[in-house]
């Protein structure tokens, strides 16, 4: 998945990946995995097809109104997703002034010109975690989320979660 996103971000049709040998996934999903020979030394390598999501939705701790986004906790694949996606939507714990970016530009891993929209949404990662804003999963809400997925009632769950917050 990571290398598929990388291919998307690099603007190339596929990407060789490490490992994957011995996995039945390769033969079972030819539309996503192919084996090819390195043009340099003939060694066989598994390749994945590029992934270009229509949208990446990324929740961050701080963003300005132009879309400059600061990730102050773990980044996971967030930056890569924003590079691969056609459009990126930022949800943020809080809107801050652009001066915050200028003070410490290294933290702005998603720059404004790659961002389509910014939504101020405190608690937007709940019932999950957003370090260091809230550090534990809200298990009750997590349970009702799982329940709502099984019952096909995600919109009403989201409505409940967002009540009075947007």
């Amino acid at each position: 998945m990571i290398n598929a996103l990388r291919a998307g971000a690099y603007g190339i049709p596929f990407m060789p990946v490490g490992g994957m040998w011995g996995s039945d996934l390769v033969a079972n999903r030819p539309e996503f995995f192919q084996v090819m020979k390195s043009p340099f030394d003939g060694k066989e390598v598994v390749c994945v097809k590029a992934l270009v999501p229509d949208y990446a939705i990324i929740h961050v701790q701080e963003a300005d109104i132009y879309g400059n986004a600061r990730i102050l906790g773990p980044t996971y694949q967030d930056v890569l997703m924003s590079r691969a996606a056609r459009k990126t939507i930022i949800t943020t714990e809080r809107i801050v002034g652009t001066y915050r970016m200028r003070e410490d530009p290294k933290h702005t891993e998603v720059p404004y010109f790659t961002v389509e929209a910014v939504v101020e949404l405190p608690g937007g990662a709940k019932p999950g975690i957003c370090y260091p804003e809230y550090l534990t999963v809200d298990w009750d809400d997590h349970k009702s989320y799982v329940g709502s997925v099984k019952a096909g009632e995600v919109p009403s769950f989201a409505e409940k979660m967002l009540k009075g917050r947007v």
Binding site: I2, R6, G18, G19, G22, S23, D24, T75, Q77, I129
Partner: protein
């Protein structure tokens, strides 16, 4: 040390995991991995010098922060880290040969160490049980020098003759280790099949055979030393909320 009094299966598995780690190793464990998480924190508490990489991006976090849930993505595996690595970098570093151990788990496994993580029963598109998949383990299992699979159970539904769909499989040229509640299996570099390496003090080779879906040829194997008083003290010190028990409920 006496089973049921001083230690149980969780502590024996944790001790076995601690003993897998050598000084200087670069070690990674996956998501939702309370057993290796507690064991690795305990190994740090014992003074073992190794690099602890977690999925929450942290490198060598403050191991004294006790886990409070079975998730391995909370701040207790991040706060106090000396550096940060995204998941993409973790895979890259292992692919380019800079990692030593990856502690991973499985739904099912066969004698070749082929691992089912994608589904059980039915077929790929219509499974009876959809697993978590294995992008991570499909990449890491064949390229990590010492992949270690931990499984908090041992029966014929887990250890089967032949896995229907292998999400991943070990490489022929690498050591591959499986730690269960009863024993350790190993596949040596150059060999194709797992062999019974040792059993835990509270079981017998017979019991292991009865609960394994493939033919075990070994008849005499060493019995692993029970968890030492130091190991048990370290486990208790880092795991005040007894998260180690989570997988054994």
């Amino acid at each position: 040390m006496e089973l049921g009094q001083d230690y149980g299966k969780p502590e024996m598995m944790a001790a076995a995991i601690i003993r897998e780690i050598k000084e200087g190793d670069v070690v990674f464990h996956g998501l939702a991995s309370p057993t290796p998480m507690v064991a690795m924190k305990a190994a740090k508490a014992l003074g073992k010098d190794f690099c602890y990489i977690t999925l929450s991006n942290g490198i060598d976090h403050d191991w004294s922060r006790a886990p409070y849930c079975a998730s391995t993505l909370t701040e207790n595996t991040y706060t106090g880290s000396v550096a940060c690595l995204g998941l993409d970098s973790i895979f890259d570093l292992y692919c380019s040969g800079k990692g030593d151990i990856a502690f991973l788990s499985c739904l099912q496994m066969d004698k070749e160490g082929r691992i089912a993580m994608s589904y059980l029963g039915g077929d790929y598109d219509h499974p009876k049980l959809r697993g978590p998949g294995g992008a991570g383990s499909a990449t890491l299992t064949p390229i990590t020098p010492r992949t270690v699979i931990w499984k908090t159970g041992h029966d014929k539904r887990i250890f089967v003759e032949r896995v229907d769909f292998a999400t991943t499989a070990p490489a022929l040229d690498k050591l591959f280790t499986v730690i269960t509640t009863l024993c350790i299996f190993r596949k040596q570099p150059g060999e194709k099949y797992l062999k019974l390496d040792c059993i835990f003090p509270y079981t017998t080779v017979e019991e292991v055979k009865e609960n394994t879906g493939w033919e075990i040829e070994e008849t005499q194997v060493p019995v692993m030393t029970p968890p030492t008083a130091e190991e048990l003290a370290a486990i208790r010190k880092v795991d005040i909320n007894n998260i180690l028990a989570y997988e054994f409920k």
